[in-house]
Amino acid sequence: MSADRVAVPARPERTLFILGCMATACAVLFMLIDVGGQWDFVLPFRGKKLATALLVGYAIAVSTVLFQTVTGNRVLTPAILGFDYLYVLIQTCLLFFLGSSTVVNLDPRLLFGVEVLIMVAFSGLLYWGLFGGARRNLHLVLLTGVVLGVLFRSLSSFLQRLIDPNEFIFLQDRFFASFNNPDQELLVVSFLVTLGVSVLGFRMLRTFDVLVLGRETAINLGVDYQRTVALILVLVAILVSVSSALVGPVTFFGLLVSNLAHAVVRTYKHELILPAAALVAAVALVAGQVVLEHVFAFDTNPRVIIEFVGGLVFITMLMRKAPG
């Protein structure tokens, strides 16, 4: 008996606690480093940035983990369904057809609402077109997503080439990930939306666990598979909208966060893996922002670093999966 007990995993609760401490430490560091006496200005200013970073980290982490649970694949992220580039396309189209002066004057909450609706409608369409009939092939959905993602990206870059260079700069500002200019109203709306999604998801935590066993076993255990998958895709679409609206598309970040979380917690239980992923995201984003502001003095863009590290991890994972 004792020989069989070698592989008892480290307690995930303890890992979560350590991650929580790290995240808190990063947040405190971020808020307090180099304040230089101007507390009344610095605290709210940094607080807003911190809130954005935490919210974005949470949205990306949860959406990626759920997406990977649904697809049963650790290399896939929502970005592969073309979600974040759909968001870019929507923004580009708005600017192309309305012009930056109109877009600036639109209520950001209204804009966000419309964008989320389009994103959810897209995920619904994708789902219905492919799951609706007798076919129920996730790989077909994914392949379609990949192709559509390329289409969205090409269409946006085509439109971006046609518009006025000044407007293009305006657009680029919006897409380049940064926590430096969060829109307060957008932040509040995003927070409320994320809260709503979380409440809904919280009630389904145990169902998510069953999905880990695969489609057939989940059906056998009485999970309404199609409905659950559809619902998760909608939740993912909303969360991706939140993160894209706040900081633009961050393709690889979710992949990093989810795999890191799985590596440190090593459990199928979503009640542990989801908070772990959110905390890893918080640590990475906040610590990254501290380094960015105080070491690189704002010289570089966080996305450059994320894409660089993420790309390396992605390639490593593919190489490891390759036979031989």
Binding site: M1, D4, R5, A7, V8, P9, G72, N73, R74, A134, R136, L205, R206, T207, D209, V210, V212, L213, G214, R215, E216, T217, I219, N220, L221, G222, V223, D224, Y225, H262, R266, T267, Y268
Partner: protein, 252 residues
């Protein structure tokens, strides 16, 4: 009772299961035999709602499997398919506990834990219960999955090739355990088996499929006959009665 009416599965123009109507007896072990591609697994998958059918319907105790909510069916019917691969690491006990999900919705009670322990014991997995599934051999993993399905405690248990990857000892003990469960707990098992002799020795009812249709069905002595098996397998199979069991010898 499980009743299939005109069940058909079509992929493009290929008929995999061709208009099968069938009543599966209540209680005991029913085994489906037949050559590769006869549609055995496909039929089992459709009966258990894992695979949508092209036409026809299936009733379990009068409940249509397509329209009845999944969680209602999950308390009456359990299915284990052939290939079960997992992306997450979980232990044998965690997997078996999932079998209680239809009853506990992920919050196992003391009573659920008792079911889990009994299933683990039943499949002889006590020593392995804390091990991760990816550290087990194929046969051990197979037993863990069967334990999960038994833990679900349903009246009907459908197993697609439960002996796959099991050595002789564990294959015999698996069949004995199923036999005990059928006799003492009154459960009905439907198995897809490739080993004719296991099917013959342990089943109350045999169903022989070929080309998507039910070719023959009946008790062991009705099916374990050279002429019947020749029609099913296109193979000369000698049958001998040994200690009261009908044994096929088809090795030469």
């Amino acid at each position: 009772m499980i009743e299939a009416k005109n069940v058909t599965k079509r992929y493009g123009t290929t008929l995999v299961v061709d208009d099968v109507s069938l009543r599966l007896p209540v209680g005991g072990i029913t085994s489906i035999i037949g050559p590769n591609g006869a549609g055995k697994s496909t039929l089992l998958s459709m009966i258990s709602r894992v695979l949508p059918m092209s036409s026809g319907n299936v009733l379990v105790d009068g409940l249509d499997v397509v329209t009845t909510p999944g969680d209602v069916l999950a308390k009456r019917l359990a299915i284990l398919r052939q290939d079960n691969h997992l992306t997450s690491r979980l232990t044998v006990r965690e997997l078996v506990t999932f079998g209680r999900y239809p009853h506990s919705k992920g919050r196992p009670t003391v009573k659920d834990q008792e079911h889990v322990e009994r299933a683990i014991q039943h499949m002889g997995l006590e020593a392995l219960s804390a091990r991760f599934l990816d550290e087990l051999s194929g046969g051990q993993r197979q037993r863990a999955f069967v334990a999960m399905v038994l833990c679900q405690d349903t009246d009907y248990v459908l197993l697609d090739e439960p002996l796959n990857g099991l050595d002789l000892k564990h294959a015999v003990s698996m069949m004995k355990q199923l036999r005990t469960a059928a006799d003492t707990l009154g459960k009905s098992f439907v198995l897809v088996l490739h080993d004719l002799n296991f099917a013959s020795c342990y089943s109350d009812h045999l169903i022989a499929m070929r080309d998507g249709k039910v070719a023959f069905q009946g008790r062991s002595e009705d099916i374990m006959r050279p002429d019947v098996l020749r029609a099913v397998y296109d193979l000369e199979i000698a049958i001998q009665q040994i200690n009261g069991d009908w044994i096929a010898t088809h090795y030469r």
